[in-house]
C-alpha cells in the first residue's frame, strides 16, 4: 500500500503537512512531497481538499490464490432442480476444467431431500447443502445470509447464479454484502489463460454491443447467467458427488420480508410471446388507420399485431402489443416488420424470430441487417398486394 501526491492537482495549501501525524510531508516548490517516514495511514488523504493525495488502499486486493472452485447456486422449483441450474453446471464444468478446480453446487432451501443427487448427475463434484426452515421461497434476505456466509467460509473463485428474477435479485445483495464485483445476465463465460480471471461477456444496448467484463482483484468473481444460453451436460445416472452440509445461521431480521400469497398468473391481454406469427409496425405505418392494414394481414395469417415503442406512444396500438426492450420479447416463427427502422431496442425484443421479413422504404434501415427477406419498398404498396394474394379465393395457385 502507498500514498502519493498527484502534483497537477496539488493546490499547495499545506493542510496535509499539518494533518500528517508523522511529519512525513513537506512542501517543495509549492507542492506537497511525502517522504519515507510515511506509514500510509491516510490522514493526509482525508485532509486534502483537491483530492490530490491518492492512496491505493482502495484496491484492497483479495489474495486470489486463496479462492478455489467454481460454484453454481442452484434454483429449485416444486422440489426439482430447474433447467437453468443444469445449464449453469454445464457452463461451470468448462470453467472448472480450465481452472483445474472443482465444480460445486450450492443447494439452499428447506426440505431438500433427494435433490443433491440430481446435482451430482448434472455434473457437480461437491454439493453443499444449506438447509433451514427459514429458507422459504422468495425470502431474499435469508438466502443472502446463508449463501454469503457459506462463500466467506469456503472461498470459491467463481460463483454463478441464473439470471432468473430470483437470481437477479439475490446475486446483487450477496455481491454487496461481500463487496465483490458482479456481472449481470452473461451470455458467455470463459477463463483468461494467462491470468485465470473469469471473462464474463454480456450484451449491452439491446444486444447490439457485447462487453467482456472481469474482476482482476476481487474474489469470488460473480455472474448471473442468462437462462437458455448455456448447454447442460448429458445427465449421468448414478454419478456421485460429495454432499457437504453447511451450517446456516439465520437471524430474526432475515425474516423481515414475508410472502403472503402467490396469485395465479393473470394472463396478459395479449401474449405475443406465444404467437407463431407477428405482423408488426413502426413509425413508417404513420397512423392508427395504417395499422388497419396490418390487422387485416394478421387476420389472414392467423397472426398477432405488434409494434414499436413509437407506435404505442403515438396511440396507434395498445401497450400490451409493444415489442422490444421496454415491451415484450418475442420469438415467433415469422415476424413481418412493416415500416420499422430497427432501433436496437426494438431489435432486442424480436431478433430471436426464426424468419424475419422487413418491408421498409429506407434502404439503410438497420432492420435489413437482421432480415431474412428484405423488401425495400413502400409498405402501403406491398401490403395490399400481399393481402390480395392471401385472401381466400385469391390464392394464385387456386386461381390459375
Amino acid at each position: 500500500m502507498a500514498v502519493w501526491v498527484e502534483k497537477a492537482d496539488c493546490a499547495g495549501c499545506e493542510s496535509c503537512v499539518e494533518a500528517c501525524p508523522l511529519g512525513a510531508i513537506h512542501m517543495s516548490d509549492g507542492i506537497a512531497v511525502i517522504d519515507d517516514k510515511c506509514n500510509s495511514c491516510g490522514a493526509c488523504v482525508e485532509s486534502c481538499s483537491t483530492g490530490a493525495i491518492k492512496s491505493d488502499a482502495a484496491a484492497a486486493k483479495a489474495d486470489t490464490s486463496q479462492y478455489e472452485d467454481v460454484w453454481v447456486v442452484a434454483e429449485t422449483r416444486h422440489r426439482k432442480v430447474r433447467p437453468c441450474t443444469l445449464e449453469l453446471l454445464g457452463a461451470g464444468r468448462g470453467l472448472a476444467t480450465a481452472l483445474d478446480q472443482r465444480l460445486c453446487a450450492l443447494l439452499a432451501g428447506k426440505n431438500l431431500k433427494g435433490i443433491a443427487g440430481e446435482m451430482a448427475e448434472g455434473g457437480a463434484d461437491i454439493v453443499y447443502v444449506l438447509e433451514d426452515a427459514g429458507l422459504e421461497e422468495g425470502r431474499t434476505l435469508a438466502y443472502t445470509r446463508a449463501i454469503a456466509d457459506a462463500i466467506r467460509e469456503k472461498k470459491p473463485a467463481v460463483v454463478l447464479l441464473s439470471a432468473t428474477p430470483f437470481g437477479r435479485e439475490l446475486a446483487p445483495r450477496i455481491s454487496r454484502r461481500l463487496g465483490v464485483g458482479l456481472t449481470a445476465d452473461c451470455t458467455e463465460l470463459g477463463v483468461d489463460a494467462a491470468t485465470k480471471n473469469l471473462l464474463q461477456t454480456r450484451p449491452a444496448w439491446g444486444g447490439n454491443l457485447m462487453a467482456t467484463i472481469y474482476s482482476p482483484d476481487s474474489r469470488p468473481q460473480m455472474s448471473t447467467v442468462r437462462p437458455g444460453v448455456m448447454k447442460a451436460l448429458p445427465r449421468e445416472p448414478g454419478r456421485k458427488a460429495d454432499v457437504v452440509h453447511v451450517k446456516v445461521g439465520l437471524r430474526p431480521e432475515d425474516a423481515r420480508l414475508q410472502v403472503l400469497e402467490l396469485k395465479k398468473e393473470l394472463r396478459k391481454k395479449v401474449d405475443l410471446t406465444e404467437a407463431k406469427i407477428i405482423v408488426s409496425g413502426g413509425n413508417g405505418v404513420g397512423s392508427k388507420e395504417g395499422f388497419h392494414l396490418l390487422e387485416e394481414l394478421a387476420g389472414l395469417l392467423g397472426a398477432e399485431v405488434g409494434g414499436t415503442r413509437i407506435a404505442v406512444e403515438e396511440g396507434w396500438i395498445t401497450q400490451d402489443r409493444q415489442v422490444g426492450q421496454t415491451g415484450q420479447s418475442v420469438c415467433p416463427d415469422l415476424y413481418i416488420a412493416c415500416g420499422i427502422s430497427g432501433a436496437i431496442q426494438h431489435r432486442s425484443g424480436m431478433a430471436g424470430a426464426k424468419t424475419i421479413v422487413a418491408i421498409n422504404s429506407d434502404p439503410n434501415a438497420p432492420i435489413f441487417q437482421i432480415a431474412d427477406i428484405a423488401i425495400n419498398a413502400d409498405m402501403f404498396k406491398v401490403l395490399p398486394e400481399l393481402i390480395n394474394c392471401l385472401r381466400p379465393g385469391n390464392d394464385r395457385e387456386a386461381g390459375e
Binding site: A58, G138, T140, R168, E169, P172, R173, S175, R176, R177, G179, L182, T183, A184, A204, W205, G207, N208, L209, M210, A211, Y214, S215, P216, D217, S218, R256, L257, Q258, V259, L260, E261, L262, K263, K264, E265, I277, L301, I310, T326, A343, I344, T355, N364, F368, Q369, I370, A371, D372, I373, A374, I375, N376, A377, K381, V382, E385, L386, N388, C389
Partner: protein, 262 residues
Amino acid sequence: MDIIVLVKQVPNTAEVKIDQKTGTLMREGVESIINPDDLHALEAGLRLREAHGGTVTAVSMGPPQAMDALREALGIGADECVLLTDRAFAGADTLATSYTLGRCIRKLGRFELVIAGHQAIDGDTAQIGPQVAEYLDVPQVIRATKLEVKGGELHAERTHEDGVEAVKCPLPALVTVTKEANKARYPHIPRLMAAFDASAPIKVWGPKDIGADEKLIGLKGSPTQVQKTFTPKFEKKTEKLAGPPAEVARTLVDRLKQRRLL
C-alpha cells in the same frame, strides 16, 4: 413519510443508431432522458406522499448535465433533489454506485422508503436496487407492480415467474418498480420553469459531502472492469425482393410457403 427516489439520466436509447460501416454506436446528438422505469418510481413516491404526507427527495449520480433530469423531477413533483457529481464518482460499476447512493441516503438521514426503477435502459443490470437495499440493510421488494403503506408496513405485489406475489415487510424498505406500477404524470410547467431557477432545491454533493471513502467510489471502487467491447456478428443471409409490388407480394408468399410458414 419520507421517500427517496433514485433517478438515472440515460441516453434516449430509441435514438441511438448503429454505424452501418463500423458497427459502433452513434451516441452523438442523442437526447438525455430520465430512465423510463425511474419515472414510475417517482410517480409511486408522489402517490404515497399524496396519501400519507411527507417528502419526496430525488437522488441522482451522474455528470453535471444530470441536473436536467433532477430539474424534470422537480417539475414532476419532487420536493427536493440531490445531484451527486464529481470526477471521482466517474467510472463506477454497480458496486461503487450503490455505495455512493447508499452513503447519500445515509447522509440525508431519515427515510421510510427508497424507490427506484427496476432497471436502466442503458445498462440493464437491475443490480442497483438490491445493492442499495443491502448497503442500507433494509428489505427489498423487486419488480413491484403495486405498493401501498398501511400500519407502518409496506404491502406490495411483485411479478414472479408463476404469477404475481403479494408480500409485506416493515419500513424502512427499498422497492423497485416496473412500468406496470402506475401511469407516470407529466411535469407541471410552472414547476418545471421554477426548477431552472438558481434557488431551486437541488443540492450538488461530492464525495466529501456524503462522507464517502474515496477508495470505494468511481473507477477505484469498482471491482469489475471492461476488458473489451465488440459488436456481435449477424450471420443472416438476406434475400432481397424487388420489383413491382404485386410481383414482390407473390414471391414473398412463395418464399413463406417454401419455409412452411404459411
